[in-house]
Assembly symmetry: C2
Homo-oligomer: 139 residues x 2
């Protein structure tokens, strides 16, 4: 019986040591920060920003994004690889072929790691059809 | 009298045309967006982000920054040139010379124009002495 107690204590100590190690690596908070600025810009170079939203996902979903909770869930689904946002276009939608480029960007931090993502669509219709209702750039 | 009315009308029309032109350039809102992610990271490469704050300054000051209003005022004082944050160090403060670098970044949009700023301090004391109470990175 005494032996069993000792085993439990060791496990507890190991768990405690793990927690302290994490706290040392990130001294300011108990969660890795996730904070991004999302922009929609006219043109290919993203110089003239038309719309911008802030989004913070830890500890709670907040920001100027109209639906921070949905946007954080959608961003979490990408696991930091934002190209996956392009993977589910609306196949039932047809877009005109004219070229009036619009560029979207996401810059900041996702779970403690820096992210910087940029994609140019040939026009806003193509952008809407590609994002297909995804919440991240729905602002 | 009739002539004066005509002159006023032209001026009014010109003003209206100017407004419409601006609205076309930035269709989504009447103000240029200002939204940034501010980070503090360990090391020179800013890869491991320790703290991050979002800040949006238009139409109102908000974000996860603890004092968005003061931070937006301080950011407005730089007019988008964030190097000016380094111009007023606390000359009464002495810092140890050890090298334990900390890197701060600001990425996003300031009044419609993209900004990306980064600065590495040799240690946190040097950072605090250089910012000298400035609200932007006080989080």
């Amino acid at each position: 019986m005494r032996h069993r107690i000792a085993v439990v204590s060791s496990a507890a100590l190991l768990a405690l040591a793990g927690t302290v190690g994490l706290a040392e690596a990130q001294p300011a908070s108990l969660y890795a920060p996730s904070a991004v600025v999302l922009t929609v810009a006219q043109g290919e170079d993203a110089a003239t920003v038309v719309r911008a939203s802030t989004l913070s996902c830890a500890p709670t979903a907040q920001g100027t994004h109209p639906d921070p909770k949905a946007a954080c869930t959608a961003l979490a689904a990408t696991a930091g690889t934002l190209d996956t946002l392009l993977d589910a276009p609306d196949s039932n939608r047809a877009c005109p072929m004219h070229y009036d480029p619009v560029t979207v960007t996401a810059d900041g931090v996702w779970q403690g790691n820096r992210i910087s993502w940029k994609h140019t669509f040939s026009n806003t219709c193509t952008m809407a059809a590609t994002f297909n209702g995804n919440a991240v750039f729905a602002f």
